[in-house]
């Protein structure tokens, strides 16, 4: 039987085809036959897809594990909000989200334009073609696949080990790293952004095809919305990377982080091209539509990077079978747009009226566009060619000895030029051009001079890093540039933006005023983000491998460089807040937390055996069995031991509950014992074989250890809060303490899970990173102001 979800997808496919046929008949043959069904049909598809997404959400909330996708990404002990976000945790769900938003956009387009113009109709045709392709993709990777269709399950049913109507009782659960607030919002931002990109792309294709004017107006608000959502998605991904340790800081150039950044760059380029194209239709009449199309192609490419196994990335959670279909789609779109773009380029009449000489606005804007393209290409090339080499030659290569170095080295000079262009363009005035050129040249001079300023650590590449020595000479050449050289252009850009803001504040007319303020705010955002990114990555101070014994709870322990840490409290909890230890048993983390309460007393512990060592004593022969017990509340587990006349048959993986007495600092002289004179066991439980029983209640899937602490600098408290460590079957995650101060410096403490009675910590003092987040907020605020004005002018 076909699942209801799939039936809905097939239905949406059928209705889309009818709508497309209606539009094509009208457009090609002027047959009105299906025309009046088109708008209702598209709205119907949007409705069906809304329903199927809600259905999937219902399955997640309800725990319908007969669906493979639900089983893979959900678990009954997850809090509700993570059950909801589980719907977009994997590839099939994100495709459904993508196609759903594409059709919501198509429905909006249908509703607002009623397909009254040829442009609107043709844009809808391209949108529907894209939508249909994506529905097929979703059907191939359907989130409604039943678990009994899994190859291994099919095999087991055939063997008779499983019933044909097998439904698992518990879900596989979400990866521990995704159990985080920012991960709830990041994927929808990205995929809604990807989806809304379809309309400007479709309009641009139509324009190249038929030269229909008004394409830019049609797609303008969509572009801004896409830019906002993609930008916020990237930023939220950055916040997440910052808050969940794993790949070092808030931007590590992981292929997937980078892949979504590339279309955002070209989209930014498009918005700049469109700004001039809007005023004079002949300006950038090829560049603007091509940039819109390229952005869409890069979005498709990003989807491949995110979900294919080829790009080795922390994001590559599952391998895809639809990657090939996406590649075919990219090839088709690229070829079509290349042919159309070439045609338009050679058709273009050469009678464009421009200011003479190099220093005119169009030329400077063109340089800006190229800079966006260059920056996009650096990122694109950096993530792509290692994958290409792997595919063709079976070699794995790094782009540099440290990935960051490649992108930082190549992007840095172009970022400076971009800032210079920003400074020059934003304040461009034909009459004062000579004066402005002088200022620009002074800034360029200052930039070059400051590149040679010698400082301790302030270089494009970190000289003290062990990677520095292995970089090739050219990388070192750029890496040797002093980062102080960013400041002249940064100050110039700021100054220019302020000038612009002042000009706009003087304007009487309200709409251009608001729009101008919006533009200025967005450009302030650029300055803030760059300032935050550069200062924080160059001036972060890190103290690694701090181990504070839990026994020193309440005492200030110096950790070096004048810093000290005081542990206030330690606790554990289960994310689902259900008891995970049997009655009477004590959690192992609790024992490590306050051993004084249990020492020399009987304790009951319960958990899985993770390690076994059998030791034979010299005659008279006695066998000691050491078992490491882990109940999931504590990284390392706890050693337990028992003695008998013959070796006990205890295997790793066994679930045990045992009672015994707790001893500290135990060491044995026998060889093979895990507790030797060199590495004594801090804590160990001794019990007799009779006190050991098999079977413990299953530990919860998501256990969280929390340590509350205070950080001091020269005996002055500079930060406090909770650092957490989450452990689950599917891996572990750390959620650091982040305490910001008004000066913009973050106190950042990573806790890696209790081990051997000590709290392992890493302390980072990160300056100015908040500027980057402020910049992101400014981006959003500015673009919303710009969008607000457009809406008004349309109504009026």
């Amino acid at each position: 039987m076909i699942p209801l979800g799939d039936i809905l997808l097939y239905a949406s496919l059928a209705v889309s085809v009818i709508a497309l046929a209606g539009l094509l008949l009208k457009d090609l043959k002027n047959i009105e036959l299906l025309n009046k069904f088109v708008t209702p049909a598209i709205i119907l598809v949007a409705g069906i897809l809304t329903f199927s997404y809600l259905l999937l959400t219902y399955y997640f909330v309800n725990g319908n594990f007969e669906y493979d996708y639900v089983w893979q990404y959900s678990s009954s002990d997850l809090p509700l909000v993570y059950k909801l976000s589980g719907t977009w945790a994997g590839q099939p769900g994100t495709y459904l989200l993508w196609v759903w938003v594409v059709y919501l956009s198509a429905a909006w387009l249908a509703w607002t334009t009623k397909h009254s113009t040829a442009l609107a109709r043709r844009t809808q045709i391209i949108t529907l073609l894209t939508g249909i392709y994506l529905i097929i993709l979703t059907l191939i990777q359907t989130p409604f696949k039943l678990i009994i269709e899994r190859p291994e399950v099919v095999e087991m049913i055939a063997k008779g080990t499983l019933q044909p109507d097998f439904v698992p009782e518990v879900g596989n659960g979400l990866n521990a790293l995704l159990v985080n607030f920012w991960m709830i919002v990041h994927p929808p931002f990205m995929f809604i952004g990807y989806a809304t990109m379809t309309i400007p792309f479709a309009a641009a294709i139509v324009y190249l095809l038929t030269k229909e004017d008004g394409w830019e107006e049609l797609g303008r608000q969509w572009t801004r919305f896409t830019w906002l959502l993609l930008g916020m998605g990237i930023a939220v991904g950055g916040v997440w990377a910052y808050l969940v340790l794993g790949w070092g800081g808030f931007w590590a150039w992981d292929p997937v982080e980078t892949a979504s950044f590339i279309p955002w760059l070209t989209l930014t380029g498009f918005m700049h091209a469109a700004a001039l194209h809007r005023k004079n239709k002949t300006t950038f009449s090829t560049a603007a539509p091509i940039l819109a199309i390229v952005s869409f192609i890069l979005v498709l490419y990003a989807a491949i990077v995110v979900r294919s196994g080829l790009f080795n990335s922390v994001h590559a959670f599952g391998e895809t079978s639809t990657g090939t279909l996406l590649i075919i789609f990219i090839v088709i779109v690229s070829l079509v747009s290349l042919v159309l773009g070439m045609r338009r380029y050679f058709e273009e009449p050469d009678k464009i009226i421009e200011d003479s000489g190099f220093w005119n606005k169009t030329n400077i804007f063109y340089v800006t566009l190229l800079l966006f393209v260059i920056l996009a290409f650096i990122s694109l090339w950096g993530i792509s060619f290692p994958a290409f080499i792997q595919l063709t030659q079976g070699l794995k290569v790094g782009v540099a000895s440290d990935t960051k170095n490649f992108f930082n080295v190549w992007s840095y000079p172009f970022t400076i030029v971009l800032l210079l262009a920003l400074g020059f363009c934003l304040n461009y005035n034909e009459r004062e051009k000579e004066e402005q050129k002088k200022i620009l040249f002074i800034v360029i001079g200052l930039t070059i001079v400051t590149m040679f300023l010698r400082t301790e650590t302030f270089y494009v590449l970190d000289h003290s890093s062990p990677f520095w020595a292995r970089e090739p000479p050219f990388y070192k050449l750029i890496g040797n540039i002093s980062v102080i050289s960013i400041f002249p252009s940064l100050i110039y850009a700021t100054w220019s933006t302020i000038q612009r803001l002042i000009t706009y504040l003087r304007i009487e007319s309200i709409k251009p005023k608001i729009k101008g303020i919006g533009i200025a705010i967005v450009h302030f955002g650029v300055v803030f983000i760059l300032l935050g990114a550069i200062l924080s990555s160059n001036f972060t101070q890190t103290i690694d491998r701090i181990n504070i014994p839990l026994a020193t709870k309440g005492e200030l322990v110096p950790v070096g460089h004048g810093y000290g840490i005081k542990i206030i409290d330690f606790s554990t909890r289960n994310l689902a807040e259900t008891k995970n230890v049997p009655a009477g048993a004590v959690s192992i983390s609790e024992i490590y937390g306050s051993p004084e309460n249990y020492v020399s007393n009987n304790v009951k512990i319960s958990g899985k055996v993770t390690d076994v060592a059998n030791v034979q004593s010299p005659p008279p022969v006695v066998y000691t069995t050491y078992m490491k017990i882990n109940d999931g509340t504590y990284t390392d587990g706890l050693w337990a031991a028992t003695q008998s006349d013959e070796p006990l048959n205890i295997q790793e993986g066994l679930e045990l509950t045992m009672e015994g007495f707790l001893m500290t600092g135990f060491k044995s002289n026998s060889t093979g014992s895990p507790c030797t004179a060199v590495t004594p066991c801090d804590l160990i439980v001794f019990s007799s074989p009779e006190q050991i029983t098999g079977g413990a209640t299953a530990a919860g899937k998501y256990n969280v250890q929390s340590v509350r602490l205070e950080v001091y600098q020269d005996n002055r408290k500079i930060g406090s809060g909770v650092a957490e460590y989450l452990q689950s079957d599917g891996g572990s995650g750390t959620f650091p303490l982040v305490d910001s101060s008004i000066t913009g410096t973050d106190v950042y403490v990573i806790f890696q899970g209790l081990g051997g009675g000590t709290v392992p910590l890493t302390l980072k003092i990160i300056p100015a990173v908040n500027f980057a987040w402020i910049g992101v907020v400014l981006f959003a605020l500015g673009i919303i102001l710009i969008m607000a004005v457009k809406t008004k002018s349309k109504d009026g």
Binding site: W247, G248, I352, W381, G382, P386, K396, V397, S401, F406
Partner: protein, 159 residues
């Protein structure tokens, strides 16, 4: 018009130069693994593809312990661990001379990782020539921590 064309051509040439240069640099300086070996932290490891069995055979013939290193290309800590810890001259000398080294790429050798219960990189598993696990070292430890371990395991196996 002419200015724009000229600028475009210059940019295109620059882009091609950059692509060519970075491609070759990566191939000549930063190859991490090929079909037979992995080159991590300046040390040559056997790749899993060349056969784990073969490594065990060599280990038995030469009576050397085996160190299996689990890594991944996307692992930020691995890069530092390779350069700082494995690349430490003392550690490197012992590993190269007295060990059979095998590197497992977590993106490729997933089955081996599952078999040895390794779920994250970097991760070291030490074994005697027969394949009995002697010690596990999870995470990016520093050279001060690793040096006594590699020394002791070598001496234990030789004895």
């Amino acid at each position: 018009m002419r200015t724009k064309k000229l600028v475009s051509i210059i940019v295109l040439v620059l882009i091609l130069l950059f692509a060519y240069f970075s491609y070759n640099t990566a191939l000549s300086n930063f190859t991490l693994s090929d079909k037979n070996a992995s080159y991590l932290g300046g040390i040559k490891f056997h790749r899993a593809a060349s056969g784990l069995e073969e490594s065990f055979q060599i280990a038995q013939q030469e009576n050397k312990p085996i160190m299996m290193y689990f890594w991944a290309i996307w692992c930020q800590y691995c890069a530092g661990f390779q350069t700082n810890t494995l690349g430490n001259p003392q550690v490197k000398k012992i590993l190269e001379e007295d060990y059979i080294l095998v590197a497992m790429d977590l993106d490729i050798d997933r089955e081996v990782a599952r078999q040895y219960a390794v779920s994250y990189p970097p991760y070291l598993v030490f074994m005697d020539p027969k394949g009995n696990i002697l010690q596990r070292v999870p995470g990016a430890v520093d050279a001060d921590y690793l040096l006594p371990i590699v020394t002791k395991i070598r001496d234990d196996v030789r004895r």
